[in-house]
Amino acid sequence: MNTGLTPLLRLVDVDAWYGHFQALRGIDLTVHDGETVAVIGANGAGKTTLLRSVMGTVTLSPQSRVELAGVELGSRRPHERVREGVTLVPEGRKLFPSLTVRENLEIAATRARGRWDLDSVYDLFPNLPLLARRAAGSLSGGEQQAVAIGRGLVANPRVLMLDEVSLGLAPVVVERLYGALAEIASSGMTMLVVEQDVGQALRIAKTVLCLRAGATVLAAPAAEVTAAAVTAAYFGASA
């Protein structure tokens, strides 16, 4: 999916394993600078594993290559990959419950300076300053997701990865969060978004990748993807 921009994140022939179970099979993916790529697929398709392969928290086959700006991430540990410039907003938010909202943001903010800081995150999510001193574990799901996205942003990553932002949230909350994601994308942030809500994913993505049983079954510009093509890719049936 060449957009004419610089390749920033590249996955080449990535096989991922959980013990004897192969979760990804020969995945090739290029995310260009400033591009938003949506990864869709049914439960168990390998979407989260794809993000884990970038963060180095899953076992890859020896031939698998994950590169950020031409640098192979190889055996780097997850915290070293964050310093290289890739950040994950994990599924289920995974805030630190005993830390306040502000502390959750500060944990990530100490690593790098750039466009995003606490003030710009507070501008993006205007309700967060009111919650800054509250324990993160006491927030609603939507509030927690806003903090989780903010925590990813203040690391000022070169690639921001988001896993199932809409999971377990009310439609009105999802709508608001995806509005914020569209704003983040328009700021030039490179994003890799895993999402089951195909409509929301296509709303912000330039490119869509559909996985089924750990393999790529569809890769196309989002504008050219039809509902029938998505259905066929999701379920393996002809549209």
């Binding site: 964050v82 630190f96 944990i107």
Partner: protein, 289 residues
């Protein structure tokens, strides 16, 4: 007045127990590791202070300048090289490592210093006291020990609640995997936490060596007192550790007032009673921040 005296002396004894326990509480609170070598490390610190004090001819309090950094460095190295790799083997592996370390330390100390009973010469600080009434007096060393225990626990609390490394410790304690995803090096965070815990062990070793006697095999007994203080106060709660130490100290002195041989037993009984009535401890973990 004898009962008042028992309570006052118990509070002062509790300062020693709180000092014993704060390193154990920190290691458990951050790393979720129960350090079975905790008592033996306290004894090691006392012996190190003895050697340094004799070699340099200085007061035991001045040996803290050597013993604290030495134990902190040992803690950092032990966590980095041994305990962290062991954590990958599950929760039982570090427990077994610290048990092995306990056995090794006891035998090394026996080999080096024999089984003789020792103490650190506190000089006039060890004998001077303040008469509060005709029937009630307190020793300056005991008061100093309690003050140091409070200062160490307040310092730890401020470190954990107000500093970046404290924030990193709490985050890593909450969720080590996600902490890595936020750019925190869990290996380094654990090593720093262990170094700080070992520094407090060094302080406890020097003060306990001045307040009483020690032998190479005293460690397990100190570990039990530290455990009891931590559990009475509440696992993972630093303020609870102080409260637990004071409760244990008062229980022992009041028990000894009833019958001299009941002292330690009374402490154990209070520990069991708290465990039965309030398994989370007197102060629960909620105020750890």
């Amino acid at each position: 007045m004898t009962w008042v005296n028992a309570v006052v002396q118990g509070l002062l004894l509790g300062g020693v127990y709180a000092l014993y326990a704060c390193g154990l509480s920190l290691v458990f609170g951050v790393l979720r590791i129960v350090n079975l070598a905790h008592g033996d490390l306290t004894v090691l610190a006392a012996f190190l202070a003895l050697v340094v004090g004799q070699a340099l001819g200085v007061h035991p309090l001045l040996t803290l300048l050597v013993v604290v950094p030495a134990l902190a460095a040992a803690g950092y190295a032990l966590q980095h090289a041994v305990l962290f790799p062991a954590l990958r083997g599950g929760e039982l592996a570090p427990l077994l490592v610290t048990f092995g370390l306990s056995v090794v330390l006891q035998n090394l100390l026996l080999e080096a210093f024999s089984a003789d009973t020792r103490s650190l010469p506190a000089g006039t600080l060890g004998t001077a006291g303040l008469a509060l009434t005709d029937l009630l007096s307190v020793g300056w060393l005991a008061v100093l020990t309690l003050g140091v225990a409070v200062a160490v626990l307040v310092g730890l609390q401020l470190l954990i609640s107000r500093t970046a490394i404290g924030r990193a410790m709490r985050a890593t304690s909450d969720d080590p995997e996600t902490a890595q995803l936020m750019g925190l090096d869990d290996r380094k965070v654990y090593a720093v936490a262990t170094a700080i815990a070992f520094a407090t062990i060094a302080v406890a070793g020097v003060f306990s060596g001045m307040r009483g006697t020690f032998t190479p095999t005293l460690g397990p007994q100190l570990l039990i007192f530290a455990f009891e203080a931590v559990i009475i106060g509440g696992l993972g709660s630093l303020w609870g550790t102080l409260v637990g130490g004071l409760v244990l100290g008062v229980a022992q002195t009041v028990g000894a007032q009833i019958q001299p041989s009941y002292g330690v037993l009374a402490g154990h009984l209070v520990f069991l009673a708290v465990l039965a009535a309030r398994p989370g401890g007197i102060l629960r973990r909620a105020e750890r921040r």
